[in-house]
């Protein structure tokens, strides 16, 4: 059992709490991604797991042992840093071996481990190079090698891909995923990039202002965001959010947008007595239909700008006064898009949030 359990973990600087009592259970072999905007406490949380920050309150268990008072080196965790922290005066082999040397592992064994790890990461022919002579991707691999070679119970990743260019990032993302599949080591990964979170995670933890907003698989988070924050954070471009008032009509609950358009919603728990309730309707850019708009529930729009992306296009439009983004498949044919006057909403996918607290009204969802 080598999971990580956070129990009401608090980080306090002076009188200010930056992490407000987090509960999280990372199962053995699970890959969990902490994601959120900068300053949301995700890195601090990771550093508390690593032992680089003291835990102000609560407990952290690693592999069934409370580690609050255990030094980083004795927690049996390894970390990949954002800037890699490769020692420039040591070559690749020495960088990978550093931790083993410090721990006085016998020389023969060090050599064997380094070679094995170098083999896994495709670094065998670079072992005698200095970090300055490596490409960004190779440095990233050395940083991972340094973590892997120690054979730790838990891997911690602190925004490891943010120093790479877009193409390499995609490539290394896939390598990390493959590596995890192969080694099966419990991993906690911090990023601000929701695409990285979606592609890598078994489960994603969305954080904001020192609190967990939602925990779930990538698809759960995408399909059923628990609140407006998660809804806007997961998915790209972000979900459109429009103010509306609910009414109960014969065909079901109906949201009347502030601009007058009506959207018929699927029934949900408590929808019967929500007459007149102020809500925010969430519509993903993908969940818009451009054809068959001569119906009573179409929404009038003003097209402002078309951004062709090749197979798709983004339409920046306005619903009344509010900006509204539509993503549509085009395969290059965008000429007709500027003619667009009306759209229909895919009502099965619409989300509704309480205007006050931002929580989703679709209570089948939740954490």
């Amino acid at each position: 059992m080598s999971g990580v359990v956070l129990n009401k973990v608090v980080k306090r600087y002076g009188d200010i709490d930056v992490v407000h009592g987090i509960d999280l259970h990372v199962a053995e072999q699970e890959f969990v991604v902490l994601v959120g905007p900068s300053g949301c406490g995700k890195s601090t949380t990771l550093r508390m797991i690593a032992g680089l920050e003291e835990i102000s309150d609560g407990t952290i268990d690693i592999a069934g042992r409370e580690v609050n008072e255990v030094a980083p080196k004795d927690r049996d965790v390894a970390m990949v840093f954002q800037n890699y922290a490769l020692y420039p005066h040591l070559d690749v082999a020495e960088n990978i071996a550093f931790g083993l040397r410090i721990r006085r592992v016998p020389k023969v064994e060090i050599e064997r481990s380094v070679n094995e790890v170098a083999g896994i990461l495709g670094l065998t022919s670079y072992l005698d190079r200095k970090p300055a002579d490596l490409s960004g991707g190779q440095r990233q691999r050395v940083a991972m090698g340094r973590a892997i070679v120690r054979n730790p119970k838990v891997f911690l990743f602190d925004e490891p891909l943010s120093n790479l260019d877009a193409q390499l990032r995609t490539q290394m993302r896939a390598e990390i995923k493959r590596l995890h599949a192969r080694l099966g080591v419990t991993s906690v990964y911090v990023t601000h990039d929701q695409v990285e979170a979606m592609t890598l995670a078994d489960r994603i933890v969305v954080m904001s202002e020192g609190r967990i907003e939602q925990i779930g698989t990538p698809m759960e988070l995408f399909m059923n965001p628990a609140n407006r924050f998660v809804a806007s954070f997961i998915g790209s471009p972000p979900m459109n959010q429009l103010g509306a008032t609910l009414a109960n009509e014969a065909e079901g609950p109906v949201a009347t947008l502030d601009d007058g358009a009506r959207i018929v919603l699927p029934r949900f728990e408590g929808s019967a007595d929500s007459e007149g309730r102020r809500v925010v309707v969430g519509i993903r850019p993908e969940d818009v239909l451009l054809e068959g708009t001569d119906t009573s529930d179409s929404v009038p729009i003003d097209v402002d700008l078309i951004e062709p992306l090749g197979s798709e296009a983004l339409i920046h439009a306005k619903v009344g006064e509010h900006p509204f983004v539509i993503k549509t498949e085009t395969y290059g044919d965008i000429a007709h898009l500027s003619e667009l006057r009306k759209i229909r909403i895919n009502r099965e996918r619409v989300k509704v949030f309480d205007e006050e607290d931002g929580r989703s009204l679709f209570s089948s969802v939740g954490d």
């Binding site: 680089l52 980083p72 390894a78 800037n83 020692y87 550093f98 931790g99």
Partner: protein
């Protein structure tokens, strides 16, 4: 920017005049050294008569023979090596760990400790209390007194602390997660990463130790412990103040001028040997020290 043909005539004239001026400044810097070297290789008679200007007149190495056969010269030379090597090592030993500790954000009372260091740069008790303190500590006339008494200065600590601060914190964190304690972090990571800064400080120490004069003169009475600079001073002032003694030294082969010049040359040579090495670092070092906290 470097293509001369693109320059107007006024610009060309300006560039050339500028080069001439710099050349003159460089020559006037260099000349005294050439003069001393020429003097040290001239005969005492010609030197006394003021005939030496640029090159040795009546070339002779008698002045050097006189200097090198003086056992006191060799004793003081040896002492200077002891003070330079011992003092520099002592400085590094005291400055590096302290500067590292001061650079760590987790150090409790960091502001207070830094102020403790910086205050010594602003306020100095002065010659007399320092001297009395050395005497009370029993460090007069002692090798150890010279080596330890001038080992630390605030400027060097702050210079190195700034450098350590510029190394990303994640190097320390990565090493600690790899199992290193603070001493190992410093020794295996921060010191190798800071080689240029440490070399700069070591060179500053070496130069100030090699050239150190005033306190060695004040604190050391024992002739067997004085460094080269004090020996040089004694010789020059004995020779020039005491005209009679100077006159006894004067003969056709060497005079006190040529002997002084020979000692000067002997003590400059080691500086000239390390100078090219130093030049690599001191420009950087000055910038490291920079005008910043």
């Amino acid at each position: 920017m470097t293509n001369m043909n693109l320059y107007s005539r006024g610009d060309k004239l300006f560039v050339i005049a500028n080069m001439v001026l710099i050349g003159m400044f460089a020559i006037s810097t260099l000349y005294p050294f050439i003069y001393i070297a020429a003097l040290s290789l001239s005969s005492g008679f010609e030197a006394r008569a003021g005939k030496v200007l640029l090159t040795p007149v009546s070339f002779t190495i008698e002045a050097y023979q006189y200097v090198l056969s003086d056992p006191q010269f060799w004793i003081s030379y040896k002492n200077t090596f002891i003070y330079t090597i011992g003092g520099t090592l002592m400085s590094l030993l005291l400055i590096i760990p302290g500067a590292y500790a001061l650079s760590r954000p987790q150090l409790f009372g960091r502001r207070f400790w830094n102020l403790t260091v910086a205050f010594t740069m602003w306020f100095n008790a002065g010659l007399i209390p320092f001297f009395l303190n050395m005497r009370d500590l029993g460090l007069l006339d002692s090798y150890f007194g010279i080596i330890i008494g001038f080992a630390v200065n605030g400027f060097n600590i702050i210079l190195l602390r700034n450098f350590f601060e510029s190394v990303p914190q994640s190097f320390e964190e990565a090493a600690r997660m790899d199992g290193a304690n603070e001493f190992q972090v410093l020794w295996k990571v921060y010191i190798p990463l800071s080689k240029p800064a440490i070399a700069t400080i070591a060179l500053f120490c070496i130069v100030s130790r090699w050239n150190g004069f005033f306190w060695a003169m004040v604190l050391l009475q024992d002739e067997d412990k004085i460094p080269l600079q004090v020996f040089l001073r004694h010789t020059i002032s004995n020779l020039s103040d005491d005209q009679e003694f100077g006159a006894t030294l004067f003969n056709a082969a060497y005079s006190f001028e040529t002997v002084s010049a020979a000692i000067i040359v002997c003590s400059i040579i080691p500086v000239l040997i390390v100078y090219p090495l130093m030049q690599k670092y001191f420009e950087k070092g000055i910038l490291l020290g920079g005008v910043k906290e």
